[in-house]
């Protein structure tokens, strides 16, 4: 930054660069030098803050996580690191809670992501019609996104309450017995997924809508001439037209799903939150990380879980890439 701020000749538009600075020739030379420095250096100065902050607070911690995972570190004595090699990893591998949390993360991830994106696609299609009050519908769809995890999870916890919750009451109108949303594993995972779905469907719908609006109209006209029905047009023009957005939202949702933390924590209402229910029935990897580090005080173990989450993410991306390739080849 210093480069650009220290330039002496602040020539206002219309004045010569060297006007007013020192003796003519010397000032000229100095300002050309500074000018060249400015042109060369300023771009780097402008992008530097991003990279400095990212390196210090994201990249370095990510790398350092792997180093910590090879040590025994306790929360109370953070500066004492005892080398244990791969002990944390073998312990994690042998730990049932890890496999349980991994499975829960995957099942809740699927339960929340798939319906969310499908519903977002439908909603975007509806919003893409010529509408009265389209701004209202768009803002309404996005409102849950303004609600914090904390507030949303509190409200849904109450809606899913076993004895007096709104949802059990509604189900009872159809003759369904009260469901124990917290203690039944699949019920709990469904409830948690519904929080995620509620918060993010509208957001994704707007992304799809933006992409749909960029599809040239003549593609629809051509399809209509070929005799394609509305539904066929949706499948053959709309969906391919927004494919890269769909891929993008899948990536975003997947990252979100592997990191899931706040929803299950608050859904568990306090002590049961961190363990993901009395039987860990909805403990995610995020919760396990927190439990190891900040409840059991084992930071080395927590780092190992973080690293496992990272690996999971990579595996999911590789699988997704492969599926995409295969699908593209078939098409």
């Amino acid at each position: 930054m210093a480069i650009s701020t220290s330039t002496p000749s602040d020539g206002a538009p219309g004045t010569a660069p060297s006007a007013g600075t020192g003796t003519g020739g010397d000032g000229q030379r100095r300002s050309t030098l500074l000018h060249r420095l400015d042109v060369r250096g300023a771009p780097y100065a402008f992008v530097a803050p991003f990279f400095v902050v990212f390196a210090a607070f994201s990249f370095y911690p990510l790398i350092y996580t792997s180093w910590i995972s090879l040590h025994r570190v306790e929360l109370s004595t953070l500066n004492l690191m005892e080398w244990v090699g791969f002990d944390n990893y073998t312990a994690l591998w042998d730990d049932d809670r890890f496999w349980n949390a991994l499975l829960n993360t995957i099942t809740i991830g699927v339960l929340s992501t798939v319906p969310q994106l499908l519903m977002a696609l439908g909603l975007a299609h509806l919003l893409n019609y010529r509408l009265r009050g389209s701004t209202f519908f768009r803002v309404a769809a996005l409102t849950p996104y303004a609600t914090s995890v904390g507030a949303a999870a509190l409200v849904f916890t109450m809606l899913f309450e076993r004895d007096f919750g709104m949802i059990n009451w509604m189900l009872s109108l159809f003759g369904v017995e009260n469901i124990d949303w917290e203690n039944n594993k699949w019920a709990a995972q469904t409830a948690i997924s519904s929080i995620v779905i509620w918060r993010w469907t509208g957001y994704n719908a707007l992304l799809y809508l933006a992409a749909m609006q960029a599809i040239p109209r003549d593609r629809y006209e051509a399809a209509a001439i070929d005799g394609a029905s509305r539904w066929q047009q949706f499948l053959m023009v709309t969906v391919p037209g927004i494919r890269s957005t769909i891929v993008f939202t899948i990536v975003l949702s997947t990252i979100g799903a592997t990191q899931l933390f706040g929803e299950p924590l608050i859904f568990g209402q306090g002590p049961n939150g961190i363990t993901g229910g009395a039987d860990n029935q909805y403990q995610t990897l995020g919760l396990l990380l927190y439990e190891e580090g900040w409840k059991n005080y084992q930071m080395g173990r927590a780092a190992t879980v973080a690293w496992a989450m990272f690996l999971l993410l990579i595996v999911v991306f590789v699988v997704q890439r492969v599926v995409q390739r295969v699908a593209a080849r078939k098409a």
């Binding site: 771009p43 607070f57 509806l126 409102t143 914090s148 409200v155 933006a210 391919p240 990191q259 706040g262």
Partner: protein, 313 residues
């Protein structure tokens, strides 16, 4: 999902207008062209069925918030009866007041305001600087650096929490607001968002003209780029503010109940310290109100910004 980002659009088709105050910019014609893009994909008028389905979707979106208000305005006995209440009761202000005290929401609100405000300001500033450089300045390694920026979006910051926590403790920042602020001072999505906007909205000739007049880069940024970039900056500010206000995992780890942000303070309500269900809902409502207010006033701009940031097919 919970990733902290607004996604990015390849340059050529911003579908929705960002209707903000019109700054006196030299590129009026260009901006009009940018914003008045024909709505290519819109073809059919919506039939009754579409309206019904959209109505249902809006109901699903808004009902939980409405019900929060209802529950917060009754009392514990009424909330825990079946059928549950559907209409507001008389106790709203009383409950809001109590929840404000019980969950120490006053301090939490102030903290969240500081955290979200600082993060949004610095994100906008740095994103505009970097976005300008990537869009209009020529330098070695530009494309590689831009790829790097995009690549960083794929690294969830949550994975580094263990060393980050150790780092903050070492620096004496544990339980302090800077610990929450520092890691999120910049955003890759913001950089990309501003780059996309500026590469279209800012004519090369203007930058060149500034150079010919002898203005240095920071001055060009200040007097030429900033006026043009104001609308997307406002949108980026609001979107970043929403994300920072709602951020949960890291603040929950590094802050404690003596100095929380709003989402962290709200966990106190769920953790059994407060037994009154109406009070819990009142707290949830309070924690959401500032952002809801923002959505009511600027909803259209936020929607436009998110759509403008979307990836194009």
């Amino acid at each position: 999902m919970t990733t902290d980002s607004i996604p990015v659009r390849a340059a050529d088709a911003p579908p929705e207008t960002v209707r903000m105050k019109r700054g006196a910019t030299p590129s009026g014609a260009r901006r009009r062209r940018l914003f008045a893009h024909p709505r290519a994909g819109r073809q059919h008028h919506a039939g009754p069925l579409a309206y019904i389905l959209l109505g249902i979707a809006a109901l699903f979106s808004l009902f939980p918030l409405y019900w929060t208000m209802v529950a917060a305005s009754t009392d514990n006995t009424r909330v825990t009866q079946t059928p549950p209440p559907f209409l507001p009761g008389p106790h709203l202000l009383e409950n809001l007041g109590k929840a404000w005290q019980d969950a120490a929401l006053g301090k939490a609100m102030l903290n969240s305001l500081i955290v979200a405000g600082v993060i949004a300001l610095s994100t906008v500033l740095f994103a505009t600087l970097a976005g300008f450089a990537f869009a209009k300045l020529r330098f070695k390694g530009r494309n590689i650096l831009l790829m790097l920026v995009i690549g960083t979006m794929l690294v969830p910051p949550q994975l580094g929490v263990v060393p980050l926590f150790m780092m903050m403790t070492e620096l004496g920042l544990g339980q302090k607001l800077p610990a929450v602020i520092f890691p999120t001072l910049v955003s890759a999505v913001g950089v990309f968002f501003m780059r996309q906007y500026l590469s279209e909205a800012l004519p090369d000739e203007l930058v060149e003209a500034g150079r010919v007049d002898g203005a240095h880069s920071l001055r060009i940024f200040w007097s030429i780029v900033l006026p043009i970039a104001r609308p997307p900056m406002a949108v980026l500010f609001m979107i970043t503010f929403v994300h920072a206000w709602n951020d949960f995992f890291w603040p929950f780890i590094v802050l404690d109940m003596s100095n929380p942000t709003v989402p962290v303070a709200l966990t106190q309500l769920s953790a059994g310290y407060v037994r009154d269900q109406s009070l819990i809902m009142a707290g949830a409502l309070l924690g959401t109100l500032p952002l809801l207010a923002m959505f009511i006033i600027f909803g259209r701009q936020i929607v436009g910004g998110i759509m403008q940031g979307a990836v194009k097919g």
